[in-house]
């Protein structure tokens, strides 16, 4: 799980061009959107692409993303349970 969390943090940094950030700068349990990392709806859509591309998880409904992208830990949990690759 810790490995997946680190992998995910690196992928988030790369996908969302968080150039000046290191994985340790992202709090595993902090909210990704709004007050935490300060990501927005376009980032959420990029994360949907990331989930499909890297883990084979298809999210048709963008609003479902809101629950899954609560924090890196929640995301990792969801990926672990639903991944197809």
């Amino acid at each position: 799980m810790d490995e997946l969390i680190l992998e995910l943090k690196n992928e988030i940094i790369e996908t969302l061009n968080l150039e000046d950030m290191q994985p340790e700068d992202i709090d595993t349990d902090a909210p990704l959107f709004g007050e935490g990392l300060g990501l927005d709806s376009i980032d959420a859509l990029e994360l949907i692409v990331l989930m499909e591309k890297n883990y084979g998880i298809k999210l048709r409904d963008a609003s479902k993303g809101k629950e899954i992208f609560k924090s890196v830990r929640v995301m990792a949990d969801y990926i672990e349970k639903n991944r197809t690759k």
Binding site: L16, N17, L18, E19, D20, G38, I42, L45, E46, V49, E52, K53
Partner: protein, 343 residues
């Protein structure tokens, strides 16, 4: 009050010359290659990193030149934001196309799409500067800048606006360069290709302004006699005569086919005028005519014309230029005439 003069409060450029300054007038950078990318300033000074992270080069450049021009002008909220771009956000467009063509229609990235449209630039500036005013983007090949300035000038002249941020921006990615070259638009003969980001703030108030737009005329597919009458109308608009023009600045670039069209107009209408050029300094691209405007404004503002802008120095040099006429054309179809005067 007649509203013929739209005063140029500020300009800012990022190009293949030194960014955000007028150093090129004294120390221009010359290139051997005919493909050069723009020299970027340190954007961290201008755009917070969290905001910059999604922006492509053209977005950073256009936002930075806009913000610098706004700041220099002292006008926080211009009445209008009017933008020209020939090819728009090509970097994102190309990346999206590459995924589409190589990987198929399954995993396309939303950011690439959102930031691929031509109006990305103009709306992005409005979002960043919280400007709810008139906002429009013209995308018409080599007269995109001219079209944007024309709209601003006309709205000012007829009292719809008192100020405007006008800009023109194009990026030439390595792939774009290959395509533009195949189209014969850049990189022919001695031509150098360059990227463009020029922003200017214009206002109804002359304070602190050194120059003004005095008239603009644009015409599609004119005959020789229509070019004559357009020039006469332009001068009448500005209440001037041919003798009042200090110099004519044309968009010759080293591409013989398109250059000859400028020489034809000069031979027909401005035989004894001093001819200036700028594309050998700033390069050619769809937004290059904005550099003509920028360079002419710099000359009027500083009261001299650098040697290297003369096409033929033996024609005689000008002391302090008062009025510069800009002539630009797009594929020999649309011809634009912009008259700038010092104030």
């Amino acid at each position: 009050m007649t509203r013929n003069s739209f005063y140029i409060k500020s300009t800012a450029q990022i190009s293949i010359q030194q960014p955000l300054c007028e150093d090129w007038m004294e120390n221009p950078i010359w290139y051997d290659s005919n493909y050069v990318r723009s020299l970027e300033p340190d954007y961290k000074q201008y755009i917070p990193p969290m905001e910059a992270r999604r922006m492509t080069r053209i977005m950073k450049r256009s936002l930075t030149t806009s913000n610098v021009a706004i700041k220099k002008s002292g006008l926080v909220l211009p009445d209008a934001i009017i933008t020209g771009t020939g090819w728009g956000c090509m970097d994102n467009t190309e990346q999206f196309l590459e995924i589409l063509c190589n990987e198929g229609e399954q995993l396309l990235k939303p950011t690439l799409f959102i930031q691929s449209t031509h109006n990305t630039i103009s709306s992005h500036i409005a979002i960043n500067t919280c400007n709810n005013g008139y906002n429009i983007t013209y995308s018409h090949r080599c007269v995109s800048f001219d079209m944007a300035l024309f709209d601003a000038y006309l709205q000012y002249k007829f009292g719809k606006i008192d100020s405007a941020l006008v800009g023109s921006h194009d990026e030439v990615t390595p792939t774009s360069f290959v395509l533009l070259k195949k189209m014969g638009l850049v990189g022919c003969d001695d031509e150098i290709c360059g990227e463009a980001s020029v922003s200017t703030v214009l206002s109804s108030t002359p304070s602190d302004a050194h120059s003004a737009v005095a008239a603009i005329r644009i015409i599609y597919k004119p005959s020789v006699s229509e070019i004559h009458s357009t020039v006469n109308q332009l001068l009448a608009d500005a209440e001037m005569c041919t003798e009042d023009i200090s110099a004519v600045m044309v968009g010759i670039s080293g591409n013989k086919t398109t250059d000859n069209l400028y020489y034809d107009i000069v031979d027909n209408c401005f035989r004894d005028k001093t001819i200036l050029h700028y594309k050998h300094v700033f390069g050619e691209c769809f937004s290059a005519s904005a550099f003509g405007f920028y360079a002419a404004d710099c000359c009027l503002k500083h009261g001299y014309i650098p040697d290297f802008l003369y096409v033929d120095k033996s024609q005689g040099m000008i002391g302090t230029p008062k009025t510069i006429l800009l002539i630009n054309h797009s594929d020999g179809k649309t011809f634009s005439f912009i008259l700038l005067r010092s104030v």
